[in-house]
Symmetry: C2
Subunit: 200 residues, 2 copies
DNA sequence: CTTCTAATCTTGCCACTGTCAAGATAGGAG
DNA sequence: CTCCTATCTTGACAGTGGCAAGATTAGAAG
């Protein structure tokens, strides 16, 4: 379905975009492990060597998808913060929930964003988006802590990032509740101890 | 180097073990992405189809390695707890450091242990080790919290797990300090806010 | 409008992978 | 000693990513 353009024209018209969309769909269906450049070409209705003219390698296509994912990710965090009124802590908590929700809604893309291919965060575009995300979270943490030394804000922000990132990856990889007692909403349960993280 | 047994005997003698060792070395050198069953066979000095008699598939070999990794992991956590005298909190902190240290020392294996192959934690052996690890951490958390409802202990333990797991994966995947200010020991910096996690 | 250049796409190939099937070898029970 | 069975080898197959050479066409240059 979707963008399987099967026109009779020799030239596709917008192959690059079609490949990206096909790849995202393929990732959603089969996951990263069975992602294939040739399958993307097939879904775009094009020969197996056509992608080479738009992406230097398969990893390049995935890098593009990771970059787009990170940009959507930053937008989602921003929206969560903007839509939430109340204390700075409430905004931070909303961002945390948005963080995990994004990961759960886009498992393969989230995986690409962090452990993407071999060298992570190398594309300048990806690095820009990652820095923006970090800045958002760091600012939210600073707003909660009030006037503090920059070092301390950074340390706390890193801890918050680790907590939400760990929650997301555990949910994705292991269906987190390893222990016997599983809550109806394990994510909320974990994130409820987020405030405690921001005290000396 | 290592276990490249090149004897002239038609039968290897201990191929299964040799394959596991070769695979672990290969993972250390090249990482999971360029892991290859045929390369393992080559390093064990054996033909490309020989491994099939010991492992049903390539994923099976990796599952074996993940299981062994998880067992070493559980042992490392236990040692960290046993070697540490002092408060329950000190023991928990030591386990957290050991957790991250293990991940950093065995990046590929750690990756296998959690996001291993396709279906994670499916082997019974792996599941046993995972449950043991969870129990260790959960007990340590319970010792810190004192007499509490089981639900609360589970929630807090999950938060602790998420924090250390997130720290480990971020260190592995992104060289964590995304922000500008990087500490000399980012892990210690993050784990220093672990105590705050255990307060209502 | 014609021509021609450069981008795009196809076909065909290579080395490599995991897995299967069939034959070679040898260790160990009887 | 014989024979059975586990182990290992050889050879094949479909599939992959990447490269090279040719076909096709869009769009600029004249």
């Amino acid at each position: 379905m979707a963008v399987r353009k099967q026109s009779k024209t020799y030239h596709h018209g917008d192959l690059r975009e079609a490949l990206v969309l096909a790849a995202i769909e393929l990732l959603k269906e089969k996951g990263l492990s069975s992602f294939t450049l040739r399958e993307c070409a097939r879904r775009a209705g094009v020969s197996h060597a056509a992608p080479a003219h738009h992406f230097a390698s398969a990893a390049d296509l995935l890098a593009e998808i990771a970059a787009r994912g990170f940009e959507r990710f930053v937008a989602a965090l921003g929206e969560a913060a903007d839509e939430t009124e109340g204390t700075a802590m409430a905004r931070l908590a909303a961002m945390g929930r948005a963080y995990v929700a994004f990961a759960l809604a886009n498992p393969a893309v989230y995986g690409l964003m962090f452990r993407g291919g071999a060298n992570p965060l190398q594309s300048p575009r990806l690095k820009t988006a990652a820095t923006a995300a970090w800045q958002q979270l760091s600012d939210a943490v600073a707003a909660v802590l009030g006037p503090k030394r920059k070092d301390e804000v950074n340390a706390k922000a890193a801890a918050v990032w680790a907590l939400v990132h760990g929650t997301a990856t555990l949910m994705l990889d292991c269906k987190l509740p390893l222990g016997p007692a599983r809550s109806s909403d394990p994510v909320a349960q974990i994130l409820s101890s987020l405030p405690g993280l921001l005290r000396p």
